[in-house]
């Protein structure tokens, strides 16, 4: 049963994890995108539809990413060009995503796809317990596991990462270095939307093989919370996402065992757990919050 829950943690946590890594990029550059939920839904529908049309889940994942990116483009334009409030724009985008995907996705509700299927890695998947938990997943999940160290490397070991973080800390410093912080933020928001879209596609194309209206059910919001919970660190965000996945898996297991607990209560459990995690996390590291997150860059900075 423990192995089941752990396997399920990865399986249902991957979509949140992808979205949280994307949001992490965006927030490190100083833009908080509450529209992540909408981007995930756009990705889920776009990915699913493309897979239905082409039969190729890889194309589906790519299309999902692009759909997420498209939606985040709206956020980027509003926030970075028009100076709109980040929170207002993000929230609105979330509800826009929910509505527009419900509308466009009506005809896909009954569609069937093959999608991604678990591809056990030879030899490694034969390791007892560990093999089942770690090495018996769909290709998208494997890729997402590689993404985390890659993102860490880019953020902390390359100049691109330094520029990205500088954009989120003090844009005037970056400006003085001859880099346009707005472009950096644009790129970061789009990258964030792309990853959220792929996360959504993972949900529809790899995990459930179906499209249901509002199928992300708040995962995008949880992903945003995870980034804060993780103090803007990729590995911690991954851990948080898997924790959320584990709670999902636990809920499913409990339901399957037929324990007399209300299903509504169980649906609530992952979110309660996320709240608890946020509560427990110490607020000691004041300096870990990117300074620029609450500020919006004025284009005519004289720095």
């Amino acid at each position: 049963m423990i192995a089941d829950i752990l396997t399920g943690a990865l399986r249902s946590g991957t979509s949140v994890m992808l979205a949280s890594q994307g949001e992490l990029i965006s927030e490190r550059a100083g833009v908080i995108n509450l529209g992540t939920e909408g981007c995930m839904l756009a990705g889920a529908l776009g990915g699913f539809a493309t897979t239905v049309w082409t039969g190729n889940p890889w194309l589906g994942a790519l299309a999902g990413g692009l759909c997420g990116m498209l939606l985040s483009l709206i956020h980027a334009c509003l926030v970075l060009d028009r100076g709109a409030n980040q929170l207002a724009s993000g929230l609105t985008l979330m509800f826009f995503g929910i509505g527009v995907t419900a509308f466009l996705g009506r005809s896909f509700v009954s569609e069937q796809i093959v999608g991604f299927n678990p591809a056990p890695i030879p030899v490694l998947s034969d390791i007892p317990v560990l093999g089942e938990v770690l090495f018996n997943h769909d290709p998208l999940t494997y890729l997402s596991m590689l993404l985390v160290p890659a993102l860490w490397f880019v953020l902390f070991r390359t100049r691109i990462g330094i520029i990205l973080r500088a954009a989120g800390e003090r844009e005037e410093v970056l400006f003085a270095c001859g880099v346009n912080p707005r472009l950096v933020r644009y790129a970061a928001v789009l990258a964030g939307g792309f990853l959220a879209g792929i996360g959504g596609a993972q949900l529809s194309v790899a995990y459930t093989h179906s499209w249901v209206e509002n199928m992300t059910a708040g995962r995008g919001v949880v992903a945003v919370a995870m980034v804060i919970f993780a103090a803007w660190r990729p590995f911690r965000a991954m851990l948080g996402a898997y924790l959320f996945g584990a709670a999902q898996a636990l809920q499913l297991t409990v339901q399957q065992q037929g324990l007399p607990i209300s299903p509504y209560f169980l649906f609530m459990a992952p979110y309660v757990l996320t709240l608890a995690a946020l509560l427990i996390v110490e607020r000691r590291k004041r300096s870990s919050v990117p300074e620029g997150l609450s500020r919006v860059f004025a284009a005519d900075a004289d720095g």
């Binding site: 070991r157 520029i163 973080r165 800390e169 410093v173 001859g178 004289d302 720095g303």
Partner: protein, 557 residues
């Protein structure tokens, strides 16, 4: 004048002019900087020094005039182009990112391409550090560095740019302690020897006298004086070029020990006229204060038997204060502030000045110990301290006391001038009149009340924050670096205001990095060193050298 950059002229400007709306910030500036020389640009706050430098660094585009480098006309806007041409700038408010390490900050500015080679970058950084005596640990996050270290890092960063030839320093010594200034000027000498052209923006005449090869004086946006070292220049000539007809009256230290303000002076809000007092200095001081001065290292108060001396307003007993990241910054701090006395605190920056000031303003909770104000213990937040009569002027008023978008008047209304009601709201006209009538505002030459505070220069913000604290006529004033980065005229005005406030009965705790200022104003001196508050010392019985030694080595010195 010269043809094609002969005489080693790196950069020349002809008729440079910059306007902001109707304000002419720079008018027809002609300037020439030669390689291997230090060219000082001297001027008061608001004289247009910063505007000129920002044009040379490409931040602003000049409205009129030309800039030549090596004899060829160039455009320097935006800064990336200025940097390409070999211009580097060391900003007053450093262009550093606190959350990142020193090495990351260098990589951001000096690197190119998307991968950076930590090893080689670090090597180059250490090499430059060693060559010019600019020691900085590359792996420490910038927020852990003190101001002097940050400046050294900023200079290293500038020097690591690929083809830098001309370096602009914007008020570089304003963040340094006296001991660091010497080293800084030596470093400038090394840069000059290596052929860099140096533009030194400053308002300190002794620095110009100490190191500059050439000086240009700015007043109200125009060049009023230009001279080379060989031509012979005098401090008096520079002062009059800087200030015009106005000549500053120096503030003199006066003997206020034991002096009690009259009730009349307090009520009317005017400091009583100064009369020289012939009595010996400690005549009416309580005996226990005397003994404290004779044995400064002894513990002065014992827990359990609080002895309240006369005139005692604020007492901090056995205080321990934690820093931003939970680390212990100060321990066993004992401090007594008395009515009408200025207590000066010296110390190298980053030795707990900010933490102590914040603790005494209620912004930072004590880890241990008690604060008593007027005999009553105060343990709450800033509200309680405010109500007990404490006013604060923080270290970095621009960051901590300015609400972006608010006007000066609105800042005054937040905390300062008493407000009157008018129907449902505030009687703004009355508030404005009260502000304009206030003597403090006039004495400090406060900017116009309707101006947005976040658009003011650093000096004007400092004036505003001080005026606000003074208008309240507080019982206790905690003031940090009141003259940092200000010109002589303003410094004197501020110092006179502080003395006046003390004479009207306020107990003042003054943090400063300027030992002259501390000696001039303080009735008692204390030194922050190694988590301790040393002293008090009597300024009449010690000297700047001994205080400097304590700042560097503590009581063992």
């Amino acid at each position: 004048m010269e043809n094609q950059g002969s005489n080693g002229v790196l950069l020349r400007t002809v008729g440079l002019t910059k306007r902001f709306g109707s304000l002419v910030a720079n008018q027809g500036i002609d300037l020439a900087v030669k390689a291997g020389t230090i060219h000082a640009v001297l001027g008061e706050n608001g004289a247009g020094k910063s505007t000129l430098m920002k044009m040379l660094y490409g931040v602003y585009k000049p409205d009129e005039g030309e800039i030549y480098m090596d004899g060829r006309p160039v455009t320097l806007h935006p800064p990336s182009r200025a940097r390409e041409k070999g211009i580097g700038m060391v900003f007053q408010d450093f262009r550093l990112i606190p959350a990142m390490t020193a090495l990351d900050n260098v990589a951001l500015a000096a690197g190119s391409g998307w991968r950076f080679r930590r090893g080689s970058l670090r090597e180059r950084m250490l090499e430059i550090s060693a060559k010019y005596g600019l020691s900085v640990n590359p792996d420490v996050p910038v927020w852990q560095l003190d101001l002097g270290q940050r400046q050294r890092l900023e200079i290293v960063k500038t020097l690591m740019a690929p083809n830098v030839r001309l370096i602009i320093f914007d008020e570089p010594t304003s963040v340094l302690v006296p001991q660091e200034v010497r080293a800084f000027l030596d470093m400038l000498g090394l840069l000059r020897k290596d052929g860099f052209g140096i533009l030194l923006i400053t308002h300190k005449i002794d620095e110009v006298l100490a190191c500059a090869d050439e000086v240009s004086v700015l007043r109200a946006g125009r060049l009023t004086y230009r001279a080379e070292r060989d031509e012979g220049w005098t401090a008096e000539r520079l002062v009059s070029a800087m200030l015009g007809e106005r000549t500053p009256q120096p503030v003199t230290k006066r003997d206020r020990a034991g002096k009690r303000p009259t009730e009349e002076a307090r009520r009317s809000g005017h400091p009583s006229e100064e009369v020289p007092r012939p009595e010996p200095r400690f005549a009416d001081m309580p005996p226990e204060a005397l003994s404290r001065m004779e044995h400064p290292s002894e513990e002065t108060s014992h827990p359990g038997c609080p002895s309240e001396g006369p005139g005692e307003v604020l007492r901090l007993e056995n205080g321990a204060i934690a820093g931003d990241h939970g680390e212990l910054v100060l321990e066993s701090v004992n401090l007594t502030l008395r009515r009408g006395e200025i207590t000066g605190v010296a110390g190298i920056s980053g030795n707990g000045q900010r933490e102590l000031a914040e603790a005494l303003c209620g912004l930072r909770r004590l880890k241990r110990g008690t604060v008593t104000i007027g005999g009553k213990p105060v343990a709450g937040g800033p509200r309680e301290f405010l109500e007990a009569g404490v006013a604060c002027v923080p270290e970095d008023p621009l960051r901590e006391s300015v609400v972006p978008g608010f006007t000066i008047l609105e800042h005054m209304a937040l905390e300062g001038i008493p407000l009157r009601r008018r129907r449902m709201g505030i009687d703004w006209r009355h508030a404005r009149e009260a502000l304009e009538a206030s003597e403090e505002a006039r004495a400090l030459n406060l900017a116009e009340a309707g101006r947005r505070a976040d658009r003011l220069s650093g000096g004007n913000v400092q004036r505003m924050v001080l005026a606000r604290a003074l208008i309240r006529r507080p019982r206790v004033l905690i003031v940090s670096y009141p003259s940092r980065g200000l010109d002589i005229g303003t410094v004197h005005a501020i110092q006179r205001q502080l003395i006046g406030l003390a004479e009207s009965g306020t107990a003042i705790l003054l943090f400063s990095e300027d030992l002259d200022e501390l000696f001039k104003l303080s009735d008692r001196l204390m030194v922050l060193f190694g988590k301790r508050l040393l002293g008090p010392y009597d300024p009449a019985e010690t000297d700047a050298f001994r205080i400097g030694e304590r700042m560097l080595r503590g009581e063992t010195a």
